[in-house]
């Protein structure tokens, strides 16, 4: 191993994310507290504790005890082999585990297409208020007026931001919203006596688009990309026929480019009677500037966990409301929030009044806890603040792009398309691989040693060795500078010794993991 002490120093410079770090292999190797913790922490909760230990004490059994309440054949004989630990042991186990995570609160997280903006702490506080957190979803509407008003207000806000009049908050995530959107399209066409079989997606599309299309019973047809990074309009025209149900599009797209032909695209799609679907993954670029509805979209999904700053929780929860045009409204999922003439709110679950509805997508009304947070966000920023957020997101992205366009970086990591970008941009690591002998993956792993979360890599698929960078509006200029400097440093270092990047990282709780072994002979639970 030829690593040096430099990366550790860089961590201090750039703001150590606070992750528990182990020493570089060749570094002075006296047994340390950290390395002892490392070994202990590699044990799962099922390998800790001892028979008889416990944290939970059951409330008193305060009713007369009756035997034989369950026939033997229905009763469990062998209890599940859950861990047996005291509360202090449980807390210590999970707190130590937490220190083996990188998180947004500790460091820069420029993960393209994920919009890792700051999560305001106010949101956690208001979501935890018992009036929200302990409200039962089957509480009768007249006794849940605050919650229904909040949802109504959030629906109205999202409708205004989307430029589409009707909203359902129900979908649980972006992919769930997509599925809702394609099922809405199907219901719309079937109601008109039409059977269509194809859905168009651009070749830059996120994988959820084609997966959703299949689950909704359609065939995927790919549309090409033009040299400017937008939809190939001629290809679209050739493929748009009466058998096409929908075109799913992101604008700006996954290359960070706003498709200036959007009006023409909408016209082509509508001409053949198809719907235009907006994947809201990149809405953070255009709030208050332009709206999907004004661009001609019929159906939009929002990612509350991206644009409206729901904490990502290490992979969920999310929330994926949809907004639709008048012609799609009759098919919206049940239940629908309605406001009576007296200003009170109700949930319309009825099959009669919503006979054309596609039905439910999940249990209850959606991820209300997420609605509370995103509503708080919209009320905090207001009209002006939301537009400001998008403008600064685009400013920050272009600034970081400019900083990465310097000599020593741009020749190895050129911008894949265009000159400027919206809220994110894609670099190609192909020259870096050819000239310096390190891949995009190696760059990403070396960034870990600098205390940064790497960008999204190898997506979008049509860019060779892609690096997709989205800084968001909540990062400072100093952070963007530090990130650009780290990339330059890694490339400089690779010119001397590419092995440093190829074997990175060195300072993380574990180093590169054998994913092939994990997939070949899967061990997906603790043997007990």
């Amino acid at each position: 191993m030829t690593g040096s002490g430099a990366p550790l120093e860089d961590n201090r410079l750039h703001g150590d994310p606070g992750i528990e770090r182990t020493e570089i292999d060749h570094a002075p190797s006296a047994p340390t507290v950290a390395s002892a913790m490392q070994r202990e922490r590699a044990m799962t909760i099922f390998e800790k504790g001892a028979p008889g230990r416990r944290a939970f004490v059951a409330p008193e059994l305060d009713v007369p005890v009756t035997g034989d309440l369950l026939p033997d054949r229905l009763r469990r004989t062998e209890p599940p082999r859950l861990p047996e630990l005291s509360e202090p042991e449980i807390v210590r186990h999970y707190v130590r585990l937490s220190k083996r995570n990188f998180d947004l609160d500790s460091g820069f997280y420029p993960l393209g297409s994920c919009t890792m903006k700051h999560n305001p702490r106010l949101h956690e506080r208001v979501a935890a208020l018992p009036g929200h957190a302990r409200l039962h979803p089957f509480q009768r509407p007249q006794r849940a007026q605050g919650a229904l008003e909040l949802m109504w207000n959030l629906e109205r806000s999202l409708a205004e931001i989307a430029g589409l009049p009707h909203v359902s908050l129900q979908p649980s995530a972006g992919s769930h919203g997509e599925l809702a959107g394609v099922l809405l399209t199907r219901a719309y066409h079937e109601d008109r006596g039409e059977r269509r079989h194809k859905v168009l997606t651009p070749d830059t599309a996120h994988g959820t688009n084609p997966a959703t299309v299949t689950m909704a019973g359609y065939e995927v047809v790919k549309v090409g990309t033009n040299p400017d990074g937008g939809v190939d309009v001629d290809d679209l025209r050739a493929k748009a026929d009466a058998d096409v149900a929908c075109l799913m599009l992101t604008n700006p797209n996954t290359l960070g480019i706003f498709d200036a032909n959007i009006e023409q695209i909408a016209a082509i799609v509508h001409q053949v009677g198809a719907t235009l679907y907006y994947d809201g993954a990149n809405l953070n670029a255009v709030m208050g500037v332009t709206r999907p509805g004004d661009m001609g979209f019929d159906i939009v999904h929002f990612n509350l966990h991206k644009t409206f700053t729901q904490p990502h929780g290490g992979g969920g929860p999310g929330s994926g409301p949809i907004a639709v045009s008048d012609r799609i409204e009759p098919y919206l999922p049940r239940p629908v929030i309605v406001r009576g003439e007296d200003g009170t709110f109700d949930l319309d679950e009825g099959s009669g009044s919503r006979a054309k509805s596609i039905g439910r997508l999940r249990g209850f009304q959606g991820n209300y806890g997420c609605f509370v947070r995103s509503y708080a966000y919209i009320r905090s920023l207001g009209a002006e603040g939301l537009k400001d957020a998008s403008e600064v997101a685009v400013l920050n992205a272009n600034y970081l792009l400019a900083r990465l366009s310097r000599a020593g970086v741009a020749e190895y990591l050129p911008l894949a398309f265009g000159k400027l970008c919206m809220h994110e941009f894609v670099l190609s690591g192909a020259p870096m691989k050819k000239e310096l002998g390190i891949r995009t993956l190696d760059l990403a792993k070396r960034l870990l040693d600098h205390g940064f979360h790497p960008p999204t890599i190898y997506f979008p698929l049509l860019v060779d060795e892609a690096v997709l960078i989205e800084p968001t509006e909540t990062e400072t200029r100093e952070t963007l500078d530090a990130f650009a400097d780290a990339v330059a440093e890694i490339l400089r270092e690779a010119a001397d010794d590419p092995e440093l990047a190829r074997s990175a990282p060195y300072t993380t709780p574990v180093r590169r993991l054998d994913e092939a072994a994990a997939a070949k002979r899967p061990v997906i639970r603790q043997p007990l």
Binding site: L69, H118, G382
Partner: protein, 458 residues
């Protein structure tokens, strides 16, 4: 107005200079004039933090939560106590604010939690393969339908009417996309009618769905239902309440192929219906058809134990239109709450809690069914919830009880037109004998008052 941004006028000038443009507006040059909004969004102006807090607090105050009344409302989500350590751990930045663990070297905490969670779910359900969680219960049931469709390609689902109405509706919605139809099996005396099930079965059935305990609180004979499904080569799918699996036999030991369910009862709050998590466990044969994230164990280049997302070729970002699901995310934070809660309960606690619910539920059913104008809707074994019929209009009775600070339960007529006079009563460890006795007093009085009222009118 809060912005959470940091650009000063000096920053702005320096950044525009570096980019080589004169204004932020130039950065939006790609957006055609015709599609620009050209006016401010029609939304209220932004507010300072303290004002937003006050507004959200005022909205919360207009809800009647489990904090404000003695509640026996369940029907899919339950008012269990969430221990303090769950809040403390889920609020930690390191668990709250990361994205999906795409970089395993700096995500070992989250990945190991997923691995531990999967182990716990396998133990609970008696099935060897669990994913890292899906959205929630009803969509998990529909996802099991997709697994069945991918496995045997058959075009029909058969679901017990004892499954949660939201699960049945979600399956109906999704089946349209799968190209499948859905038939419902009636209940008799509170449980799935086996003869009716057999009549509906055939070689075109992809899967049979049953819920344990069912929506009316009754414990189902899951083994017999699974056996009937298997006779026709259909998969048996059981939606289970995980918190009852300390006392009820594991579905995996009863022949079930896939066990899914709503995870809210494991350390997650009510949150007016979400976010919570859905769990998804299956027999080994279905490993490569599972939806969602799965964490697996491996080693790093230095031989240290570590965890990664594995079997990713099932997923949408690789297999795209041939993926086993379009789902991207698990409900990692909610699943963390779940595994911490199960650890807190521990091996003995889960059974003790189940036994406590079993006894109190029995006591409550006996006590309430003895009231004038109140009867048990069925006589099946119950664990945490039971159904009654009232000789009085249920909504009016609920209003009267609410006036006395008691939420008596779920009006079954909201979901089952065949039970317009039904009331579903849920018991958790938070409802003591004194609470149950108070319910008996209030409910008895309310039913009596309504009967008197009806008598006067007649």
């Amino acid at each position: 107005m809060s912005t959470y941004t940091s650009v000063t006028p000096e920053d702005l000038q320096a950044m525009l200079d570096a980019i080589g443009v004169g204004s932020v507006g130039e950065l939006f040059a790609q957006v055609p004039e015709a599609v620009r909004l050209g006016r401010p969004l029609d939304l209220p102006a932004g507010l300072p933090e303290q004002d937003v807090f006050a507004h959200l607090r005022d909205l919360a105050a207009r809800n009647v939560s489990a904090e404000d009344e003695i509640t026996f409302l369940g029907a899919g989500m339950y008012d269990h106590y969430v221990p303090a350590l769950v809040d403390m751990l889920t609020e930690r930045s390191e668990f709250l604010t990361p994205y999906t663990p795409y970089q395993p070297e700096i995500s070992q905490g989250g990945l190991q939690v997923m691995f531990e969670y999967q182990t716990a779910i396998s133990e609970l359900t008696g099935l060897p393969v669990s994913n890292a969680s899906v959205y929630e219960g009803p969509s998990a049931l529909a996802a099991a339908g997709y697994l069945a469709k991918l496995t045997n390609g058959r075009p029909r689902f058969v679901i017990s009417r004892g499954a949660h109405p939201h699960s049945r509706e979600t399956l109906h919605t999704m089946a349209v996309g799968y190209g499948a139809t859905v038939d419902e099996v009636v209940l008799s005396d509170g449980v799935t009618d086996l003869d009716a099930l057999r009549d509906l079965l055939g070689d075109d059935v992809a899967a049979v769905f049953v819920q344990q305990p069912n929506f009316l609180g009754a414990v189902e004979d899951v083994e017999a239902i699974a056996a009937a499904a298997h006779e026709h080569g259909a998969l048996a799918v059981c939606a289970a309440d995980p918190l009852t699996l300390g006392v009820l036999e594991a579905p995996g030991n009863q022949g079930v192929d896939v066990c899914i369910g709503e995870g809210q009862t494991l350390g997650n709050r009510l949150d007016f219906g979400g976010p919570s998590f859905g769990f998804f466990a299956a027999a080994e044969a279905h490993l490569r058809k599972m939806p969602g994230r799965i964490a697996g164990e491996t080693t790093d280049v230095d031989g240290r134990r570590g965890f990664v997302l594995t079997l990713q070729t099932r997923e949408q970002h690789i297999r795209r239109e041939k993926a086993t699901s379009n789902i991207c995310t698990s409900q990692a934070l909610n699943a963390l709450a779940g595994v911490v809660y199960l650890t807190w309960l521990g091996r003995r606690g889960l059974g003790e809690l189940g036994e406590l619910m079993l006894q109190r539920t029995h006591y409550a059913r006996e006590t309430l069914a003895a009231l004038d104008g109140v009867a048990a809707l069925h006589d099946q074994p119950v664990v945490r919830e039971f159904a009654l019929t009232l000789d009085a209009p249920v909504d009016r009775v609920l209003d009267r009880c609410a006036g006395d600070g008691v939420n008596a339960g779920f009006a079954l007529g909201r979901a089952y037109e065949e039970h317009p006079d039904g009331l579903l009563v849920a018991i958790t460890e938070r409802r003591s004998r004194a609470d149950i006795d108070r319910l008996a007093e209030v409910l008895g009085a309310a039913v009596a008052a309504e009967r008197r009222h009806a008598g006067v009118g007649a």
